[in-house]
Symmetry: C2
Subunit: 388 residues, 2 copies
């Protein structure tokens, strides 16, 4: 690895069946007022909400509610959450849900003690955090985003047709996260598959960058092989604990900063997918899946060696007697077959996108410069056109 | 992964060329008195000592010296270091050197404010830490032990013919570590190769355990492939920055608790190697290399499936038309060839062991129960006999 970096990830994880008990270790470290953040109510149906509330009460906490966080948390909801946290004088924000809920909790946490407009400060100007941060803990009920062990927070502004992520520093990482694979069992299969592809995309966004020999790439090949193996099992049997626990663990390590070390990283699949989501409000992982093949086929000529390595080391493509380009293409063909097999949506039409949205989506796509090609507006248009 | 666990690794790492500058970020966090710990004086010859002292002085620190830490730190040296730290009223222990120096610093750090005899408390009774811990920082000049990001400390008691490690909790992990791959260039080749095998053994001790499907095993296969690749380059050119930086990073992740998650782990190669070292004072990595093949051949029948997986996924053994046992054996043959090629010592005779020491070494070998076979005294004797 040729790049310099620092690594610091202070989040404490409690992993496995019954790991919600970890709350009893963590709660005494914080003050009395807990802002309890959750989504559309599935945690009430599956009983996780009641379990969390019981532990909060047993630890003498005052609970302030902030439910209704949507899958793509909006700037309006963020502003509401900031007000709720201020009114509660929150000592701890406890997020119970998936990555969106955990993301949202972090976005609130950096804004409570800040006079600036949260959207402008963090998602337009990308300012550093300059005020006190309210500690955040996450009880994860859906995997994919890695939000449980990083500083990421993605917020959507429908008025501006923008879905933007801010990657905060380790002072904003959750202080602790509870990862019980059984909590993910009740998730609808569509959401599970979407989460699995979100994980895969996180890894690939980091893998497809750089030409140096980097240990991070070897670690990512291991994570990808484990993910593919466990995804195949989970799609057939969503209550296979071993598979679901591996998927949960891979999700965390795919996006907790480790595998990016020494690399530039790309993230254009996310930029394209987020542009699609800003116009359709479609599920995050599915938007990534729908733009992946058009994008990777488009950039393959600029990073052929890495795509060929990916084909051999992840998809077991036999390289004998083939050109590097053919090996690389065979890898993408194998990947595409697998994506269809597990049930991913492979085009943006099915996600509600229409040609009338094309100009807007092109405009909403942020350009990153760490991958194998810096995309022009024409490149972005070509990839999105091929994604219908 | 079927096991439950917690994960928390608060050590901050500064990685890359010039990362010693990270000291300027860290030092202001601690009080004035710094106990500067180092080994036999190579850090004075290669100039690292002077650089560290200059930064300490620029940060207004009072420096108290504790040099002369030996490759296998002794209980006598440990007791001396505890007295020095007490006399200095140390606010920070800064270790500059390899894993032994960092290990030693941690063993001192948990004993300074403790009335008990350090050896009895931590290395015989394996007590938890019950007193204040002096913060430790490490500037690494030799890689292998992973001591820079874990709670391990190995101390040798020559009078009792025992070399024993205590794995402390995250309150004893270094607060920060400086990892500059260029600091490892001046290390003699014998030490570099020994360190490389120490890293490999750390990974294998954790890999060869369990029969469940565990993401940790996939990560370890990635680490092993990267290690073998970079070791081959570094053996030919020890100043290849890319290879040395990968090796340094792999060493950290091989033993900072991540890849053990969800696994039982074995550690019998280390128990055997440490018994050899307690009688010969031979270099750690070489003692591990010398007992590895006899041990793995001995336990192969009890974990054949995992050895076969190792052969295919790490050593690219073609499994076609072979029994599982043959695949497994072919993997070990390939590994043995590679070990000889990079210059590892493959028997304990060359390390100074004699048959007269056999009874003593058998007796000094601690038995662990996480691998594929719990070793009896007869098993241990057979493996050590085959290691001459």
């Amino acid at each position: 690895m040729l790049g310099n970096f620092t690594y610091h990830n202070p989040t404490k994880l409690y992993f496995g069946k019954g790991s919600l008990d970890g709350l009893n270790e963590e709660l005494p470290k914080y003050g009395k007022n807990v802002l309890l953040v959750y989504g559309g109510g599935s945690v009430k149906k599956n009983g996780i909400y009641d379990k969390v509330v019981a532990i909060l009460k047993a630890n003498g906490k005052s609970i302030y509610e902030d439910g209704g966080v949507m899958p793509n948390p909006t700037v309006e909801k963020l502003n509401e959450g900031i007000e709720r946290a201020r009114a509660a004088k929150a000592d701890l924000i406890l997020a119970v849900g998936g990555g969106s809920v955990c993301d949202y909790a972090k976005a609130v946490s950096v804004s409570v003690h800040c006079a600036d407009d949260a959207w402008d400060k963090y998602f337009i100007r990308f300012d550093d955090v300059s005020c006190d941060v309210v500690p955040v803990g996450c009880v994860l009920t859906m995997v994919g985003t890695g939000s449980e062990m990083n500083g990421g927070a993605v917020i959507t502004n429908h008025a501006q047709k923008l879905k933007i992520g801010h990657v905060f520093g380790d002072n904003v990482f959750p202080k602790f996260s509870i990862l019980d694979p059984e909590f993910t069992y009740t998730l609808p299969k569509y959401q599970m598959i979407s989460g699995i592809y979100d994980i895969m995309s996180h890894i690939l966004e980091q893998y497809f960058s750089g030409t140096d020999d980097n240990t991070s790439d070897y670690i990512m090949e291991g994570l990808l092989r484990s993910l593919i193996h466990s995804a195949n099992i989970a799609v057939d049997d969503p209550t296979d604990y071993e598979a679901r626990s591996n998927i949960m663990w891979i999700a965390t390590w795919a996006l907790n900063t480790l595998v990016a070390k020494g690399k530039t990283t790309d993230w254009m699949v996310h930029m394209l997918g987020q542009a699609v989501a800003a116009h359709t409000d479609a599920t995050h992982g599915m938007t990534l899946a729908a733009v992946t093949m058009p994008y990777y086929r488009y950039i393959l000529p600029y990073g052929t060696a890495k795509f060929a390595r990916y084909a051999v080391n992840v998809w077991d493509i036999d390289p004998d007697g083939k050109t590097e380009e053919q090996i690389a293409l065979d890898g993408l063909i194998e990947m595409e077959k697998w994506m269809k097999k597990i049930g991913l949506i492979m085009n943006i039409t099915e996600l509600g996108a229409s040609k009338a949205m094309l100009d807007g989506m092109v405009k909403s796509t942020l350009v990153m410069d760490g991958g194998y090609k810096v995309m022009t507006e024409r490149d972005i248009r070509a990839v999105l056109e091929a994604s219908f």
